[in-house]
């Protein structure tokens, strides 16, 4: 029998478990109540570790000429305060994160609702074609409004890309505001791999570095690299590079999804699989720093991080951009129709969130925290260039210096000589190069478009074919061995069934 005490314990336990089950319902109730009257709730979904979460040490202060930048509390909290101070309306940001573009897409399809998300360009295109996005408002592009930090601060170069790229007749720029951007390239150990080797996608399959190079574990990046390697000769030929419509041709070649190309890519990647160290999403950085591998396929932001970490161990790594082509990518903010609906207050908050993140000091905080490069060049605000100089500029009295021109990114007309970082010469192929690639490297960049449904299907199948063990590869001896085992098993079974064998124990 139960004692009183025990019974009470059980009751408490039960009550607790019931509470745990009901908790989600309660919390939804509470949100709905406060949300409708006085407070705007903004549901933001961003990449993991892709925004400054604050809590910096005092020593981490970025002391620029125009003032200090430091992240004391998170951007999200700062935004809530700033929004109230600026517009007098309380906003509550519900911030969540996703791991990959595909995860985000699945989350959206399975019924999660967000107001503002930050996918990569091809996913933005996919969402655009599916009609899920809400265009940015006219007010957002009003350069007269000082609080419109995005339109006043975005790099002219990035803006022109967002204006000139269309999908189904609509400009990216009408729906998306850039956040971070970068290119793909090779981080390498200069003692083991020459710059020349690292400057071609063919390095991924180089027989001299067998099992010493990592490649990205996702189909799009691998596809791009494989196409680059396969078409290397064409892409680097004088005739091709000097052709008047070079950029269009380059983009067409890099986005080639003809059945023959897909077949060749599959074959190539199967070779790479047997030749590379690993297909990785995250471990490549650590393996590069610990010296397990000599080169790795990397996004520029992660390349900066890798080189920074290696520097702390007095281990020098470098970054190269393949001669064939490099994939220029963007992550951008887009608003979702089924999140915002017709709620003007919500849309205003969402656009303000983009603007707040585009303010030069906040862009710097984000860049410092996550290591990627913001699309913001600052416009009138000189702090972004100051930050690049603060990070990579040469110390006074340093001997080997180079003038690193960033005119293409910072100035309206690509004017040279005005936006220059004077940096140690080695930076021209290290962090600074990864953070802000040279105009020359950018000139061979190509966007990877969003494949349509049929292409996606074929390419995904290609990727599965690469990664799976094909049943036709099973060696003959395994089949023979299996046959023998099955025969033996059957033989044993029959013997047992006939009763000539009696088990033990009963």
């Amino acid at each position: 029998m139960m004692t009183e005490k025990k019974k009470r314990g059980v009751a408490v336990l039960l009550a607790c478990s019931v509470l745990v089950f009901l908790f989600p319902f309660f919390s939804i109730q509470v949100n709905a109540d406060t949300g409708s009257d006085e407070e705007v709730v903004l549901r933001v979904c961003n990449w993991e570790e892709y925004i400054d979460l604050g809590d910096w040490d005092k020593e981490e202060t970025i002391d620029l000429d125009s003032g200090d930048v430091i992240g004391e509390s998170s951007i999200i909290k700062d935004f809530e305060e700033w929004y109230y101070e600026t517009y007098g309306i309380r906003v509550k940001v519900e911030y969540s994160t996703f791991g990959t573009n595909e995860d985000l897409y699945n989350m959206l399809t399975l019924g999660d609702t967000y107001d503002l998300v930050c996918p990569s360009e091809y996913m933005i295109m996919k969402l655009m074609t599916e009609g899920r996005l809400l265009p940015l408002s006219k007010k957002f592009f009003d350069t007269q409004d000082e609080s419109n930090y995005y339109i006043n601060g975005v790099s002219p170069y990035i803006r022109s890309i967002f204006e000139s790229n269309e999908i189904e007749g609509e400009k990216w720029g009408d729906y998306a505001a850039g956040y971070m951007w970068g290119i793909t390239g090779i981080v390498y150990n200069p003692e083991e791999v020459s710059e020349e080797e690292a400057s071609s996608w063919k390095v991924l399959n180089s027989p001299t570095h067998r099992r010493q190079i990592t490649i990205k574990d996702n189909v799009r990046d691998s596809y791009f690299a494989a196409v680059g390697a396969l078409k290397s000769e064409l892409l680097t030929s004088e005739e091709f590079v000097n052709s008047p419509d070079y950029l269009e041709r380059l983009e067409a070649e890099m986005n080639d999804t003809s059945p023959e190309t897909i077949d060749r890519v599959q074959e190539y990647l199967q070779d790479v699989k047997d030749n590379c160290y690993s297909f990785e999403t995250d471990s490549g950085k650590a393996d590069m720093i610990t010296g397990k591998v000599v080169a790795n396929y990397q996004w520029s932001g992660d390349a900066v991080y890798t080189m920074d970490q290696a520097d702390e161990d007095d281990f020098t790594l470098a970054f190269a951009v393949p001669e064939e082509s490099t994939n220029i990518y963007f992550d951008g903010w887009v608003m979702l129709k089924d999140g915002i609906r017709e709620d003007a207050a919500k849309q205003h908050a969402a656009e303000a969130f983009i603007n707040f993140n585009s303010r030069a000091d906040n862009a710097i905080r984000n860049m410092y925290y996550i290591g990627y490069t913001s699309v913001i060049s600052g416009g009138e605000d000189g702090r972004i260039l100051e930050y690049a100089d603060w990070c990579y500029g040469a110390e006074e009295g340093e001997e080997e210096v180079t003038d690193y021109d960033l005119g293409y990114f910072f100035s309206e007309d690509g004017e040279e000589g005005k936006y220059v970082v004077t940096a140690p010469t080695e930076q021209a192929y290290r962090q600074l190069f990864a953070q802000y690639p040279t105009k020359e490297a950018i000139s061979r960049s190509s966007i990877m478009v969003c494949f349509d449904e049929e292409q996606t299907k074929v390419i995904n199948q290609m990727w599965i074919n690469v990664r799976c063990y094909n049943i036709h590869d099973i060696p003959g001896w395994v089949w023979a061995f299996l046959g023998a085992v099955i025969l033996a098993g059957a033989g044993g079974g029959i013997r047992r069934w006939k009763g000539s064998y009696r088990g033990w124990g009963q």
Binding site: Y469, W504, G505
Partner: protein
């Protein structure tokens, strides 16, 4: 006593709700997706697709291979260890046993990370032996699950049976083969099923030890990443069927050999 029964039933409710919400309901969702296509119509194309694609079949085979080899290695390592432990007259027996269990208290990905460093130090370049590394990693990870049940069955063996065997003229080896080994079968079977099943799907070990070939777990993941929930669900369902078959098979064998309990 009636009251007691009543309160016991109530105690079961949270678990029943849990089962319903998080085990039964997802299973129905899985079933639904496995047998429908993109338009939501009934189809068996996913099923036939699985069995006509050399890659998915190859993956099933590869996972099976890893699981079989891992289970074999675990058994070979665990049986002698468990036997020696259970039959030794050492006073510190329980301490020795703890040594086998303590690694299980450490987070598994930490252990594999440590193993990675050790293997790199031993082999030089991990990527050259993906299959071997996977088997080592999995065996390392699952070994305690094999040792424990075998240890329990052997240590519970009735010593009188062995004495009887010796009285009847059996030598050491014969007594082991005809008495100890058959009587420890239940332990072996439960150990095998506890190692075999996770070894078929635990793709984290493969990822961490740089084996780029998919096994069942990663294959399902890749289908989902490609938005193909229907195909992915079907593979998950087939895996479930394989596991059910395996469990039925082993529990059938266990029934035949019921004698002595198993701990786990």
């Amino acid at each position: 006593m009636k009251k007691m029964k009543f309160s016991r039933k109530i105690l079961g409710i949270p678990y029943a709700v849990f089962l319903l919400l998080f085990v039964a309901a997802p299973l129905f969702v899985l079933l639904y997706y496995a047998f429908t296509n993109g338009e939501g119509r009934f189809t068996t194309a996913n099923l036939t697709g699985f069995f006509s694609d050399p890659n998915t079949l190859g993956t099933l085979f590869y996972s099976f291979g890893i699981a079989v080899v891992t289970t074999g290695v675990c058994l070979l390592l665990a049986y002698p260890a468990a036997y020696i432990l259970a039959t030794s007259k050492l006073k510190a027996k329980s301490v020795l046993m703890m040594l086998f269990i303590i690694p299980m208290w450490i987070n598994f990905s930490l252990r594999i990370t440590a193993l990675k460093e050790i293997l790199t130090w031993m082999e030089g370049n991990l990527a050259c032996h993906p299959f071997l590394n996977t088997v080592i990693g999995m065996s390392y990870d699952f070994l305690p699950f094999m040792i424990l049940p075998i240890y329990t069955t052997i240590s519970r063996l009735d010593g009188a049976l062995l004495e009887a065997a010796r009285d009847l003229g059996a030598g050491e080896a014969q007594a082991f083969l005809k008495v100890t080994l058959p009587l420890s079968l239940p332990g072996i079977i439960s150990g095998v099923s506890m190692v075999f099943l996770p070894a078929m799907t635990n793709y984290v070990v493969l990822d961490m030890l740089y084996n780029s070939t998919y096994i069942m777990g990663s294959l399902i993941g890749s289908y989902f990443a490609a938005y193909n929930w229907h195909g992915g669900s079907m593979i998950a369902l087939i895996l479930l069927a394989v596991i059910c078959l395996f469990t039925l098979f082993t529990s059938g064998m266990e029934e035949e050999n019921t004698r002595g309990g198993t701990l786990l």
